[in-house]
């Protein structure tokens, strides 16, 4: 059966990095794990092609390396010498990728299907951009501060103006005793002390 796998153009390469993913809790890759892989592939193909009953025997593996990488091909359940096209296999794997990863406790990066790029998770984007909130808080505080400072300086300058007019009024009142100005006392102007420009100079 492996003859169909070797050098086939329909084969996919798989690379597994258990130690990278699990570190100290890494399990050893052996034939049992390989059996699980073939079973997982059969499961994926069954879920994708509803109706066709794929079996572990339809998944053929070859060229295994100590890296833990190998190639596999899928044969059709009806005729075991006909291999499934790459496109069908790819779509099946894509659909059940998470389940396959889960079976091995691996991720998209540590269980790699060469030439099947994983669908990436969208970047996290909250509903309201947080920067807008911070911006709003800062601008609100600054705006309130500006208004406060302007109003307080206006109030201060008004108070100063009132104090100034009060002082001016007090000055105006100095020449008026008992409410009467000097002009209204009804006196006579004494010309002795005038400058005397009317008279001829000496």
């Amino acid at each position: 059966m492996s003859r169909l796998c070797v050098g086939s153009s329909h084969a996919y390469k798989v690379r597994i990095s258990i130690k990278t993913a699990l570190g100290n809790q890494a399990y050893v890759w052996n034939d049992n794990e390989m059996y699980l892989f073939r079973a997982a592939m059969a499961f994926a193909l069954r879920s994708y092609h509803n109706g066709q009953e794929f079996n572990v025997s339809n998944i053929m593996v070859c060229n295994e390396t100590p890296r833990v990488s190998f190639w596999f091909v899928v044969s059709s359940p009806e005729n075991s010498s006909v291999l499934l096209k790459k496109g069908d296999v790819e779509n099946a794997i894509r659909k059940s990728r998470n389940r396959i990863n889960g079976a091995f406790l691996l991720t998209d990066q540590t269980l790699e299907f060469i030439d099947i790029p994983p669908t990436l998770a969208a970047p996290v984007m909250p509903v309201t951009p947080p920067w807008l909130i911070v911006f709003g808080v800062v601008m609100g505080a600054v705006g309130a501060g500006i208004i406060f400072l302007l109003v307080s300086s206006l109030v201060q300058s008004k108070r100063k103006k009132n104090k100034k007019t009060l002082d001016e009024d007090r000055e105006d009142m100095r020449g008026i005793e008992n409410g009467l100005g000097c002009d209204n006392l009804g006196g006579v102007y004494n010309t002795t002390f005038s400058d005397g420009d009317k008279f001829t100079p000496m």
């Binding site: 100590p66 990488s69 996290v124 911070v134 500006i146």
Partner: protein, 613 residues
Amino acid sequence: MRLLLPNPGLDDRIHSYEDLERMDKEEAEDRPKWDNKAQYILTCVGFCIGIGNVWRFPYLCQSHGGGAFLIPYLILLVLEGMPLLLMEFAIGQRLRKGSVGVWRAINPYLTGIGIASMLVSLLIGLYYNTLIAWIMWYLFNSFQDPLPWTQCPLNENRTGYVPECQQSSTVDYYFYRVTLNTSASITDSGGLHWPVVVCLLAAWTVIGICYIRGISTSGKAVYVTALLPYVVLAIFLIRGLTLKGAMTGVKFLFTPNVDELMNPTTWLDAGAQVFYAFSLAWGGLISFSSYNPVHNNCKQDAIILSAVTGFTSIYAATVTYTIIGFRATEKYEQCISENIRTLLNAFGVPENSITTSNYDEAFLHLNSSHPDTILGLDIKICDMHKLLSEGVEGTGLAFIVFTEAITKMPGSPAWAVLFFVMLLCLGLSTLFGNIEGVVVPLKDLGVFPKKWPQEALTGVTCVVAFIFTLLFAQHSGLYWLTLFDNFAGSVPLLSIGFFEMIAVVYIYGVDRFNEDIKFMIGHKPNIFWQASWRIISPLIILIILVFYLVTQTQQQLTYLVWDPDSEEFPTLASIPYPPWINAVIFLLAGIPSLAMPLYALCRLIFVSCKKKR
């Protein structure tokens, strides 16, 4: 040297000693005053310590021989920076006016120096506040986990990332594409990018409120903006030293290479850095000193400020390089891991057969046995030295290298917030001095009506400046900013500083200046100050200026662009400036530098025309 140019009418234009004593006793001046000495010192420290201490000095230190760079830096700090500093402090304190007023009082023909200072402060303030706007954008975006610059957007069929992000990195993409939406050249303006406009609005509003009543509000703001950076640097130092690879960075920074001292560019760069670090010739320091009491000990202040600046530069450089060392180590290990993976995959050997410890021997063994296969693979050369030297200057340091390093630290959003708050404080405290150097000269020149209160002056200046800074909110804004950085802040400042020294020493008279200082602080400055004011400092500035002009005119005018279509992408491509840029450079650098002779000439013509009539 008794060389003194004739300067008639000087005594009529300045306060006499009796006037000064009377004003001091009665506190009869209507100028603003500092609440206490601490405010003044903190304002000056904040003004001098700016973003350049974090992202310019460490790069210079590392590239010019590490620990050996400290020798020219400290020597020039003492010979060039300190004398100029004392000169600006003393002349401001004695003549009690802003920069335009001081030079006009010394001689009306010298008003051009004040005008030049104001123009330079304005131009620098415009692009400096744009940097603050970018810092604010990053600050606002740091309040989320995961940080937005750790993620790339996906392409259409969700199998990979957007090619621009894929080829460069998430931090590059976030800076050049998301934050700035950079176009491919300075001619391609591309309209305004609204996140930058919004952040510029925020930046100018914050500056407006801090300076709304002049130094009575900014003097209170500096308690935070001048002191917080030191606290944050301390926190980063402790965190940085506990990170892996920190000591590699610090060693790289300080390993002395004494041969670099023979290189004249080392001394030139040290001199230029001292000059810009002290914010000399901006006019702000003269203004700030004019609010001091007459008998304030300005000599002590100059010495304290020089010491603080020198210490802070070294302190900030150490912290910066712990983080750079950490990032370089992380990237180096990542590079080695990728190479190991490539080798493992190519040769199909079990996973743990090649590890970081036996990588070199394994590689050599494989290379000797299968050289062709190795050539076919994409084995990258992991160069620690290159990683430590890349992108460690300017905006690249803050927005790319540091942001990347922060993403690798646990608890990244907190570190990002701290880092950008520190940069914000550093920038704001420098801007206070900047805006002082713009508003006060405009008031002295009579551009603003005398009746207007300080609030109106600040408001109008901020609104007009905001409109001008929309130039940097375009898609090509980054290139305009680099242009301003290179040309508005270099030659004009050096020439203004040179003219200032000549004016004080040879037109105001160094003997009269000595008497003033004796009146103010009680004793004449000693022979060190005399020698540096008369000969050493002007000579140093002249040499730096001449060398700078010579090297600039010889270079072809090119600039670096972020062009996803270029071949070198993601490295920045170097393309020549368009021809009309020469006019812009003349406006930026030529007009302020020539303002002094031009004004003197105009006044000469005006006065002689009046006399003829």
